[in-house]
Symmetry: C2
Subunit: 325 residues, 2 copies
């Protein structure tokens, strides 16, 4: 069974890499990426959406290949000048990058919706895939730590994830709504992929939007997740550290359990092959490290094949090991 209309749920760098692979593996325009906006924040009077931008830059191929976020061949002259004027300079905004923040912030000021703005930006950047924020209304991740409650970027960038995380909340989620384009994409999808993003910081905010979880449950497409935990640690970011702080085992199984009721399939790295038998849904074991376009595309193609088999099996048998939803 060939799957073309693919929806990916993504956070920042890990999600963007997976999205790049999927974009390369499906026809132009067949990929829709639903992106976490819990990381968004107000800075220097601008509204900054780091995950949306990371996804856009990666899909446009203008990202910094070393960091995974920000623009390639970036300069930081405005940031330096801002520091000299006494402004905050802990969040590294590049000169080219700032053009996008200014454009988005001006449009938001004028009353445009974030979905509409994101669509204008992805067209300007020549991105063929749809990129959709999880909601148009602001949702802001608040990190409850041993050093107090921290707005996400203060935890993540300013304090380099050093405080111990006790809990998270998604401020504004209760009054956020799933944008119509997101609901439509989920309903029409042939495959839904939870990218290897931080489950707590990147995927949970998406799931916190009222109705999102139900739309995922009701979507007829198979839903698979790629583990962001490989060989006992996170490929990038604080996922493993947070699992420990939240009293969880640092394991792909923790990710699987976290999303269990939503998933029809799981993708494990070969480094974790020995635990494949413990996963309660069909599991693909493969190389999941995405270091270049070839490895991103190869992983995406394998996921498409795996999910195609899942979809065929689902049409024949009831799914094993699933709790009623």
């Amino acid at each position: 069974m060939e799957l073309t209309r693919v929806v990916a749920l993504a956070g920042g760098v890990g999600g963007a890499k997976m999205a790049v692979g999927l974009q390369a593996a499906v026809p132009p325009g067949a990929l829709t990426v639903i992106v976490n906006t819990g990381d968004d924040f107000e800075h220097w009077g601008l509204t900054i959406c780091p995950d949306l931008d990371t996804v856009l830059y990666n899909l446009a191929g203008v990202h910094n290949p070393e960091t995974g976020w920000g623009r390639d061949q970036e300069s930081f002259r405005l940031l330096e000048a801002m520091g000299k004027l006494g402004g905050e300079d802990w969040f590294r905004l590049g000169d080219q990058d700032l053009a996008l923040h200014l454009r988005r912030s001006e449009w938001l000021q004028q009353g445009a919706r974030l979905s509409e703005i994101t669509d204008r930006l992805r067209r300007a950047l020549g991105v063929p895939s749809l990129v959709l924020p999880m909601s148009d209304e602001p949702v802001r991740t608040l990190v409850h730590t041993d050093e107090g409650d921290l707005p996400f970027q203060h935890y993540f960038v300013r304090l380099r994830c050093e405080p111990m995380v006790m809990d998270l909340s998604f401020v504004g989620a209760e009054s956020a709504r799933v944008p119509e384009a997101v609901a439509k994409a989920l309903h029409n999808a042939d495959l839904i992929v939870f990218c290897p993003s931080n489950p707590y910081l990147s995927i949970d905010p998406i799931l916190s939007v009222p109705g999102m979880r139900r739309l995922l449950q009701e979507a007829p497409a198979p839903k698979v997740a790629v583990s962001p935990i490989v060989g006992g640690t996170a490929i990038k970011g604080p996922a493993a550290k947070m699992m420990r702080e939240l009293g969880q085992m640092v394991s792909p199984l923790t990710v699987m359990d976290h999303f269990d009721e939503l998933l029809d399939g799981f993708i494990l790295d070969s480094a974790d092959a020995e635990i494949a038998g413990a996963v309660q849904v069909p599991t693909l074991v493969t190389e999941t490290l995405m270091t270049d376009l070839a490895s991103k595309t190869k992983l995406a193609q394998e996921i498409l094949t795996f999910a195609g088999q899942l979809a065929e099996t689902r049409n024949t048998f009831s799914r094993p090991g699933r709790r009623p939803t």
Copy 2:
């Protein structure tokens, strides 16, 4: 008579050069520059105050010495990226320069007054002189031309002053007020200098703020103007072209007539020595071209000496050739 507390009325580049000379010629902190804000505009969602910035950058010594405006060793990477995103790129905003626009715009959003913001910026830039906007309320110069009514920067930058000027209006002036610091500076001044700025575009907006003209008339200090017209043309900008379009003679006498009731003395360039006899107030004839710090400072020192003589004469005799005010 030694004059120390000097107030300068200034627009952009010409005014800023004169202010630099005056700053060098008086004790630190003794100069106050009252700056035109009629050129201010909203662009990319930011509030931009070109004349305030030109004065600040020149007084801080971080201006571009070739253009007279903008920052030295500037780059334009954000502007380029903005153009690629489909944004307007006709107004050349540099990367370092934008730090200041962001900082000011954020403070304005937070409700701070322009005077207060300008004072924070001049301190951050290490400027010893006071720099004051002509008002905290927005006043916007509208240029009535043969191509229709144009916001100032559209006339000045986008259309390069090409349309024929028929009239000017200062939108918002009727509800603007003279900031208290401006009134105080004028009252306490030992000397008030009308810089060689465009009389219509730079000085008239300052005079359009209700009460400003009366404060100038009532200020006990001598008031002198430096002619921006030298040898039948303007040193910089469209002053001469506008004089022709407005049916005026392109001459320092036109500038003198324009401000006549306010002035006690006039400063003419040596190139125009032959018309000195036609000026109705005491006139200093000297080299007025300001090409470097030395020539700026020398002109300022000559103005201080000239005005000191004026003040002494005024204390002895009634002033010649003045209409009753």
